[in-house]
């Protein structure tokens, strides 16, 4: 008989020193942090900022967010993506991780490069995992960019999302802030509940 999957359990409130130790000031190295791109990474610099809100609209101060993305050429740094026409960038792994517990307003930010379109049809996007106390199974979502209207309109995954909920997946460029900043808030529940995927 084939083995069955090990069930998920919540990350709990005390993940910081295990999963994001340097961000929270613990004496242990981090494997990843908010700096998804290094100074040597190719591509257009972007900063993503946001907050995670619970069903009462309160910012969640103990969430952990993970980000997985293709590089500026649209290629993932993973053996399953072996397309020769999209260049790998040795300076880019494409993974970031940040907790919401080190800023006064429970916000997060990552510094990265804008991913390229992935397979000729998918608009630039970042894959997101949301973990927190109170989530027994992590939630998957995606972040798209507000200034990619044409590509977003043709994106086959967005097309599978009910039209009135697509906006929850679009990070909005905030031109009032210095740098190239996009805001991506995640609403766990309520009218503006973010679309989460069953993948």
């Amino acid at each position: 008989m084939s083995p069955r999957q090990t069930p998920s359990q919540t990350v709990g409130p005390f993940f910081a020193y295990g999963l994001a130790p340097e961000q929270y000031g613990y004496r242990f190295t981090s494997i990843a942090d908010h700096a998804v791109a290094s100074p040597a990474t190719e591509g257009e610099r972007v900063r993503i900022i946001g907050q995670v809100f619970d069903g009462e609209g309160t910012p969640v101060p103990d969430a952990l967010l993970e980000f997985w993305q293709a590089n500026a050429h649209g290629r993932y740094n993973h053996p399953a993506d072996d397309r020769k026409d999209n260049l790998l960038d040795p300076e880019f792994k494409g993974f970031g991780r940040i907790g919401t517990g080190t800023s006064a307003d429970a916000s997060f930010h990552i510094d990265t490069v804008k991913p390229g379109a992935v397979d000729g049809r998918q608009a630039p996007h970042i894959n997101v995992v949301v973990l927190m106390r109170g989530l027994l199974t992590h939630a998957f979502t995606r972040l798209y960019f507000s200034d990619e209207e044409t590509l977003n309109a043709a994106d086959p995954i967005l097309a599978q999302v009910p039209e009135d909920r697509r906006a929850t997946l679009i990070a909005k460029q905030d031109e009032t802030l210095a740098g190239n900043v996009y805001r991506f808030d995640i609403h766990m529940q309520g009218e503006r509940e973010t679309v989460f995927f069953d993948i």
């Binding site: 999957q5 090990t6 919540t10 409130p13 190295t29 069903g55 993973h78």
Partner: protein
């Protein structure tokens, strides 16, 4: 997702799920390269003491508590060993206290125990780490609520779809029957979270051994040509 294995997002007995678990239907999507790839972390992510939590937090002596060895295999649903796979580990100390600054449980911090570590599976998918058996601790979910002894584990596996964060429990723990986090798992799947005592892993005069196999989601079909 295999919802016969994983907990639903809202499980009322675990109160924090009520305002945090998504309530609208999840949107099922076709798998693309975005889902079939994922971050790759292996041996190069590991420091020399990372797999020995009895040593990596020492300041002026040995940590207190019962030394244990935890080992097992990481496989996928087709029983294929998952080689060179990172496992991230964190836990409370022997007194049931986390080093985390928001843990206010009135139990002692152990200056020689951090409670965080990492290990990587070998070519046969086997992993092994040494630690101190974590204590039970109270929490605020309901009157007289106590978490069973557990170790937190995080794995990426081969793709974004195989991401797993879980908790390993210990055999014979009477608190399991009372724990809503454990009970959030579908009934037939709960036993998969309980390790087994293993005398052949136990080292004479040194440490008790426990075995815990981890099964990650297997590969799905090839990416859809979309």
């Amino acid at each position: 997702m295999d919802w016969s294995s994983h907990p639903a997002h809202v499980y009322r007995d675990y109160k924090s799920t009520v305002l945090r678990g998504p309530t609208k239907p999840l949107v099922a999507i076709d798998h693309t390269l975005s889902e079939l790839t994922g971050p790759v972390y292996g041996q190069d992510s590991i420091g020399p003491l990372d797999a020995d939590l009895t040593k990596n937090g020492q300041r002026n002596g040995e940590p207190l508590g019962e030394r244990i060895i935890v080992t097992g295999r990481v496989v996928d649903e087709n029983d294929r060993p998952q080689a060179n796979t990172l496992i991230e580990i964190w836990q409370a100390n022997a007194a049931g206290r986390y080093i985390h600054e928001i843990d206010q449980h009135d139990a002692p911090i152990d200056p020689n125990f951090l409670g965080a570590g990492r290990c990587v599976t070998d070519a046969a998918g086997r992993y092994r780490y040494m630690t101190i058996k974590p204590g039970a601790y109270p929490w605020g979910n309901h009157h007289n609520a106590w978490r069973p002894n557990h170790i937190h584990l995080s794995l990426f596996g081969p793709s974004f779809t195989s991401r797993l964060v879980t908790q390993m429990y210990f055999p014979g723990d009477p608190l399991l029957e009372l724990d809503p986090i454990f009970h959030g798992v579908p009934e037939g799947a709960r036993d998969r979270l309980i390790s087994s005592f293993a005398i052949d892993v136990t080292e004479p005069q040194y440490a008790l051994g426990y075995e815990f196999d981890i099964v990650l989601r297997g590969p799905n079909a090839t990416p859809l040509e979309i």
